[in-house]
Amino acid sequence: MTILPFPSFLDDVKEKGFKKAVFEGIDDSVERLTAGLNVQDLREAFRGETASRRPNPRLTPHADGFWLHMRPSYFNRDVTGMYPTFRLGWLSSYFVFFETITGILLMLWYTPSPEIAYGDMLTILSNVPLGQLMRDMHRLGAEFMVAVVAMHMMRTWITGSYKKPRQFTWFTGLLLLVITGFLSFSGYLLPWDQLSLWAVTIGASMAEATPVVGDQVNLLLRGAPELGANGLLRFYLLHVLALPALLFVFYGVHYYKVVIHGHSLPPQKENIGEDTAKRVPLDKRVYFIPDMLTYEMMWLGATTFIITVLCIWFYHAPLENHADPQVTPLGTTAPWYFLWIQGALKLGDKFFWGVAFPTIALGGLALLPYLDVTPSRRYAHRRFMLTIASLLISVTTILSYMGLAKFAVQTSAETEIVHELTFEPAHSKVGVGRTIPFDQMIVGAYSTAQMHHHDDMSPNDIIAEINAEALVNGQFEQMIQELKDQHVGANQLPLRFRAIPAAEAPTLMRVMEAFAHHLDAEPKELPNVWGALVITDNQAGLKRLDWVVSWDSVLIEGGEVQLDDNGDPILVYSDQVDAEGNPIPVRRIYSDHLFIHQASAYFD
């Protein structure tokens, strides 16, 4: 006997010839890699033929292999369609892995420190190839995941799948929903921009209302009374370590329970009070290999393709200005999936609506399978529970609407209007005042009063009239003083209004029309109002836009405009009188300004 390297293979070659030995070697390797399927078995499987070997080799990967050991080897045909699962559980799992992969890629460029985090965001966007796509995908995936998991829960409720024996499966699912919410929420803070800081500040402040331990919980979460370096680090560790660890543990438990009990059948497919999910008749069996495997691979491709398309053309993750604890932005809200709590908070007591109510709601959900113990899963027998389900959906929707910034939070009209015109890009929207192309920002002072005159006058005549009026009643002077107070350079102050150059600057014209339109919509709070846009040069390629609102002061008490018997607002008069001896209303003025650089391209 000679001692050769790879004796078995060389012996094979000697014995069977080279070609046969190689093919058998490949066959052997494939069978080991797939934990049971050789080349011929795979070929048969993917051709849709029945297995030619006995025992069925397609079951061995489930029995012997690691990757499929938890996947069932066959499904009931009744649960492989769109109904009743809507594939929501599969999609939830998909997003768990999708978020893990994109998240790990983003971690490579992220440092959880208030000094660095925002700069890292800019680096990801400006200096990491495909960085923007990864961030968009991770963010969009997170939003989808929360929605999909919530819908998965509602589907389980509606088909009654939480009933015996799946009560504990439901409970672990609810835990996964809560973990998903907190995962998404903790990720919200990491970019360290204004959006994240204030959404999380609002969200985290709810914890504070808890009696006795509220302060401690809050301190533990934020690491300091204010969100800062410690808070960011804690949220980061929650996001990348603690919550994913919990998620994977309960994900394992949840799926294990699903497999143990079998996928629950459509309610009408089994007798009342019975659970036949595990007893799949031979003619109803859909085997994982090859049918479910090819389905899942196809969905994997399709879902990833759709997310890619969405992130290329339709969705970009928002990034606002650097977080600033000193500047509270107008209209701050919690993330959309916590809006319902924010809405509930507007109903009254902070502890009850912010802490007790969500706890009761989640507790009720957790106890649902133990409270609803009726045996039937048929829709006709579950009218009460289905009504509760639709009530839950409606109440959550209404509360979420109430959570929006525009509901029951009043800001003075002029602030609101100017903000509406000038707000910085957020959630794919931007104040229309920023979208004027740079070459249309023609230096000058423009008045919305120009819109109120009839067409039979030429623009120049209208402007002459407006100028004469504003000079006589001192309102122009008041505006100039306001501009000076706001640090407009002395050489830049306008001398008079000029007609809006509609031909050269159609967008400017449209913005002024929108400005006038908004102002006219508030005749009670802003009587005799006019607005002005003053455009000045600041540097090469940099313009300054001052938005001015001037109106007669009205009596406001408790945030409400006080009306007289005719329904007109009650004006506030000054000590002075006009030429005819009538008192003059106090004239109020408000302004805000922004700078626009020609490279900023808000209109793209």
Partner: protein
Amino acid sequence: MNILFIKSIEGRILAGITMFVGMMILVGWVAINEEARMQSFVRQHTGRSIERGAELFASLCSECHGEEGYGAGDRAPGLNNPHLFGFDPVGLQTAAITNANRALVRLNKEIDRLLAELTDAQNPPPEERQSEILAEIAMLEAQVEEQDIAINAAVAERIAVLETLDTAVENGLFPLWDTVVDIEQTGDNEVEVFFNSNGTRLAQVGWAGDLHGYVVTTLIHGRPGSARVYPNSTGMAAWSQTAGGPLRQDQIEDLAAYILNWDKGDNWTTEDFIAVAQYGKPLADGSLPSEPPPPPAGDNVAGILQRWELEEVVGSAVSGEMLYDQEFGCTDCHRAGASAPDTIGTTTRIRNERLTLPQFAGYTIEQYIVESITRPGDYVVEGYSSGLMPVNFGLRMTDQQLADIVAYLLTQE
């Protein structure tokens, strides 16, 4: 929806492969466009950084450095300033004079050569050549005259520039004057001597780094000695949080981006140099620098109340309401009691609920309100979050504004 459930295995495999390939093509397409996208993002971000810097400059810097960066009197130097960006008007004129002088030497040599040829006794040029030489000499003399004019203009401009700078010297406002060489020995124009060795600002202050580093460093640490040079100012403060100021590093960078955006590169002119209040000149229109703004109220409650008494500060509820609603936006939160206590009923609640608490023993309502505004973190009403109310209101309002707001709140029974 059942199209998602393709019945045949081949169909599913085909659809799956198509989707994967499609996705890879899309990602590849994005990847080859990344370079351009990243560049345009950088441009866009630079633009927005300049915008934020402009906002900071208008609110924090324009008071002393001027709205258009031309400086304000004897309070701070102009930053929209050719000298800062390396434009040296004295050096420019010197170079112009040197060049013209060189040309003159060349022209005079040429004329001498022609004259020598014309007057050569041994070998007199023929008649034709003589008139040719005379014509050439006339042409060269015209050029000499041109150069003379150029020299005179450059000299005049140089004198003009030096004179503006002389004024600064007379005012004793020339920064780092001690570094100028000993003028007694040379008898030269002292400013000229100074500029010959300190053509640009960075050379003048002996800064070895680049301009961006110079600006950022100044913003971070301030200019500890500048109150001596600009006697009417409080001196350049340290603006960065790292040095105890209010600004974050990204804001410092925004401000630097805005300041550096004044650079005109090769297009600076001597007029630009003279227009800027570089060394404590009066403003361009001859006016004096404006009064510095009144100091903020701060957060020393006892001190504020004491000042009010001493200076007889009386608040106006009308003006207070305006400040409360508009300027400082208090009603954004103090409304309906959801995120902060309601404005209505302020004094009633303070009298009946807060001042009965042990820690407020001996407080007046006024004192409670002042403390709540200037030091909101010291006590937060039960049921509301701490940390929501900005802590810097005391720094944002003057004594009078604070008094107005207190007067307004006292009317809220």
